[in-house]
Assembly symmetry: C2
Homo-oligomer: 211 residues x 2
């Protein structure tokens, strides 16, 4: 409990640091393999021309996703989380110290694949996003209430394979809204370009509100 | 570190308790939604006539999977893990105290969906199984070395949707063997009955060796 309190204090300081530089940070959480990296890549592709984007990749072997992001012309920090199953504010502070903050507008933080512990750890973000995919089963939202209660946006990804796994994407959407009536929910597929529009609009709308 | 040592001591006592009753216990770990419950259901369907099977369902909302198992004529204990992202030996001891141990041959334990922390927590099992699915991406094995190093069997599930998600199941198999040359690896799909034979044979072979 002291751990959580200490983390909240550090997170608040990160938040002030980011605000000072006018950077909007997104804590992108989700199940293992749900599509976090894919959706961050799509955001960089669609917004990287207009906004200066930085990325923090957090995982036990962070280099694998970090190397995907490095193919784009953006600053990337890989943060190895060791045996921790979630990023925390201290690790994010270490990453912020290595980023060119004066040259960034958007910070995309890929958290460790986990629907439990990241719910309790703020990082200093402006917006919290949780990504699940239909392949995890359509009971995945109701099985993890806390994380949906703490997020601003939920993405139900890989809707193109709903039938193949026997999952009802609309049940997942309504489960999220029942848990958190103020959460925004999107259904996406990397194979359907228009389905990504809502994700891009969410990022841009966050820029306009928060700056 | 003391936490881990204390857990190991409890796990050893669970192991002796189970051995005393001649019960073979399987710690079934894996990513969120990888197919743990599905593969346990298939084991109950195929072996429940010949062996007396008990199940422990561990999760933050354990009743959801526990209710799936209760449709079969087997003893089921739902273990809510609270904010913990892994089962531990103490929770399993609580479950063992509620099971009719004198009437069981096989104990199937569904762990919390997580490829990180369960690697460090023994429960008292005879065999450790990790289940991943192609939908998590074919880099999921190399991203989580510790859990594969500690397991007896790795299952690469949902191979029927490999093309739909652009994943190479054989890469996942060879990654597991590279990390742990003595691990057994199976490729499965719930849609292909024969692919489940290897999983059933693994359970039965474990019975013959351990008893
Ligand atoms: N069919 C389909 N596959 C997808 C979609 N989005 C991602 N994938 C696939 O899902 C797998 C995992 O995608 P990633 O973006 O690496 O997921 P992640 O959440 O970053 O994974 P981790 O960081 O390892 O937890 C990859 O094989 C992707 O190609 C989608 O919309 N449809
Ligand atoms: N296409 C396909 N879908 C599968 C397969 N196995 C399981 N599924 C689907 O994958 C989803 C998750 O399956 P579960 O068995 O609930 O997975 P789990 O690992 O127990 O999930 P959690 O306990 O929530 O972590 C369900 O929608 C299943 O129908 C498979 O071999 N192929
Ligand atoms: Mg990723
Ligand atoms: Mg399950
Ligand atoms: Zn955790
Ligand atoms: Zn953990």
């Amino acid at each position: 409990h002291d751990v959580l309190e200490a983390n909240e204090e550090l997170a608040l300081r990160n938040h002030h640091l980011l605000n000072g530089f006018g950077i909007i940070a997104f804590n992108i959480m989700g199940a293992i393999g749900s599509g976090k990296t894919t959706l961050i890549e799509l955001a960089i592709e669609r917004l990287g021309g207009r906004y200066r984007i930085g990325v923090i990749a957090g995982d036990i072997v962070a280099d694998i996703d970090a190397n995907r992001f490095k193919r784009y012309d953006v600053p990337v920090i890989a943060m190895n989380t060791g045996k921790e199953c979630h990023l925390d504010a201290l690790l994010v502070k270490n990453a912020l110290d290595q980023l060119p903050l004066e040259d960034l507008d958007i910070l995309l933080i890929e958290n460790v694949g986990n629907l439990i512990c990241p719910a309790d750890y703020s990082l200093g973000e402006s917006k919290r996003v949780v990504i699940v995919s239909v392949s995890e089963g359509d009971d995945i939202v109701e099985k993890h209430p806390m994380i949906f209660k703490t997020c601003d946006l939920a993405i139900v990804n890989k809707v193109d394979i709903s039938d193949a796994v026997g999952a009802d994407a609309d049940k997942m959407v309504s489960d999220a809204l029942r848990l958190n009536p103020s959460i925004k929910v999107l259904k996406t597929s990397k194979k359907v370009g228009e389905s990504i529009d809502g994700w891009i609009e969410f990022i841009e709308a966050s820029m306009n509100v928060c700056r």
